[in-house]
């Protein structure tokens, strides 16, 4: 699995997440997660298509 460590942002819902290895920490306002059915952050980490996300740092 490629290294995707870092902070990522979904361009659709602006939710950000920090990825480290196979762990992911998602930051949302409110309790709903994922906010939309096709949010990449709602997938198993090795199925996330990082090309659809914006790298924040």
């Amino acid at each position: 699995m490629a290294n995707h460590d870092g902070t990522w942002k979904c361009p659709k819902c602006s939710v950000t997440a920090v990825v480290k290895g196979c762990d992911i920490t998602v930051y949302v306002v409110g309790h709903t997660f994922p906010l939309h059915g096709d949010c990449e952050f709602g997938k198993v980490i090795d199925h996330i298509d990082f090309s659809k996300l914006e790298k924040v740092d």
Partner: protein, 193 residues
Amino acid sequence: MTMPRLEGPPPLPESLARSIDTLNETLLKLVEISGLTFALDPLRYIARKLRSGEAFRDIGQGYFPIGPAPATITIQMTNPEGYVWLGLREGLRFSQQAVIEYTRLIDGTPLPWVYVPRAVDLDIDWSETMPFGVIIKETYGAIYTNHDPFAQWIINGWYGAYIRKEVWEHDSRLMDIAAESYLHEVEARYGKP
């Protein structure tokens, strides 16, 4: 012609008058206590706040898969600015083979709840803590770690309400004042414990 002066009943004996005064005071207190019990009933309290616009409902559900062990998903939820969260009910369902280590944090403090269930679902009755118990002031965290060698899934559903922070603080103070007044009265009557 002058009307004869009507004489009222003879005055009550002083001890009887005092007893009636005490009885009246006690009845007023009972009305006050039952009024507070009515007003602060958790579900009635929330329903009133929702109708008044001081709170808005938060009903939702989520589904998310979690990768093979030792993958961890941490979800850090932040209240909309200026609101606290009052939960009513929440349910979590895991896939049949899931062995999920599960930790909750309220405002950064982990609850003494760590579950490593296999095919065991979890219901949380938040209303037990309502409205002046466990309030999520700012953040709510959930950490799920999968201990199963295969990917698993989690679904959750909840209903609760976001209430304006200053409204909740004001109502909490009223509740404190009411509770303290009765506590002190008990102490005055029976002495300090």
